[in-house]
């Protein structure tokens, strides 16, 4: 799975968390530390599998839980128009 972040989104990291601003809709979103790291890795255009592997090395979480949580986060961000996914 490849992830493309919307170019109309501003990302600002703040003490490990972050704020996203969709310049088109003027909607703001907040990301927790794991969500923030996900976005930073996606900015570097890593595929989902690589992002998943990298976060496993950074956080004490089992693979299945992380996979599920990332899928949920991606679905929310996709619904908000902040990214698109290519399978």
């Amino acid at each position: 799975m490849n992830i493309s972040l919307s170019p109309r989104v501003l990302f600002r990291e703040l003490d490990g968390e972050s704020v996203l601003l969709d310049l088109h809709s003027q909607q703001y979103f907040g990301l927790d530390p794991i969500g923030t790291r996900f976005w930073q890795l996606a900015q570097q255009q890593y595929p989902f599998s690589q992002i998943h592997q990298q976060l496993l090395t950074e956080y004490l979480v089992d693979s299945e839980t992380l996979h599920h949580d990332l899928q949920e986060l991606i679905a929310q961000l996709q619904q908000a128009g902040l990214l698109t996914v290519q399978l």
């Binding site: 501003l10 600002r12 703040l14 003490d15 310049l23 703001y28 907040g30």
Partner: protein
């Protein structure tokens, strides 16, 4: 605007901003230095556009963003109470003004050049002598069953400031970006706390006590 509903449209670009309401148009230069009435006939709508949202937008273009907040001076420092209309900031500011000094109500302008200071007189500012006071705390008002204070993370504080910025729905993308950077700067330098309390007069003394203790720290 002016307490009455209006349909308002804004267009922002390289030539500045146009505010349009009830077929009346106001132009604001890109540097926010000039607000011009482009309509042929003066009207209450034009007055509202120019002195209300037009003024707020012009200030933002100059790097001064306005927030929904009232302020009180405590021991030569400012404390702000932030919240939408009807959330109690005016009532709380007026009550605390009996102990300290109420310095502003409803609109709090803050500048990127003088962080945390009031840069210019605004309609509800009681005395210009408070314009040089530094900002000590910003309290985000919320209703709850007890008086509680909760420090917000930088990102939550930034989001709160962004959401309480007046007129931001009129901002073009570049101004939104400046607003976000400005709010992040405030959140990183001024403690922002969520102040929860029951919205009843009997609880205001307890709120005052909590703020007294918190501002002594």
């Amino acid at each position: 605007m002016g307490g009455e509903p209006h349909f308002l449209t804004s267009y922002g670009g390289v030539d500045g901003y146009w505010l349009i309401s009830n077929f009346q148009t106001v132009h604001i230069t890109t540097n926010g230095q000039e607000i011009t009435n482009l309509s042929s006939t003066p009207s209450p709508t034009i007055t509202s556009l120019m002195s209300g949202v037009g003024f707020i937008l012009a200030l933002a273009l100059q790097g001064t963003f306005c927030f929904h907040a009232s302020t009180v001076a405590i021991n030569h420092q400012l404390v702000a109470f932030m919240g939408e209309s009807g959330k109690g900031k005016s009532t709380l500011g007026a009550f605390l003004g009996q102990m300290w000094t109420q310095t502003g109500d409803d609109v709090l302008p803050m500048s990127t050049y003088h962080m945390g200071r009031l840069d210019f007189p605004q309609p509800k500012l009681l005395s210009p002598k408070f314009m040089e006071l530094p900002m000590q705390r910003i309290y985000l008002l919320a209703e709850g069953e007890l008086v509680q204070l909760e420090t917000l993370s930088t990102s939550h504080a930034t989001l709160s400031l962004v959401r309480h910025t007046i007129g931001s729905r009129l901002f073009a993308p570049d101004l939104l970006e400046q607003q976000l950077a400005f709010c992040a700067g405030i959140a990183a330098t001024i403690p922002i706390k969520k102040l929860t309390y029951p919205r009843q007069w009997a609880w205001l003394p307890a709120v005052a006590e909590a703020i007294t203790q918190d501002t002594r720290l």
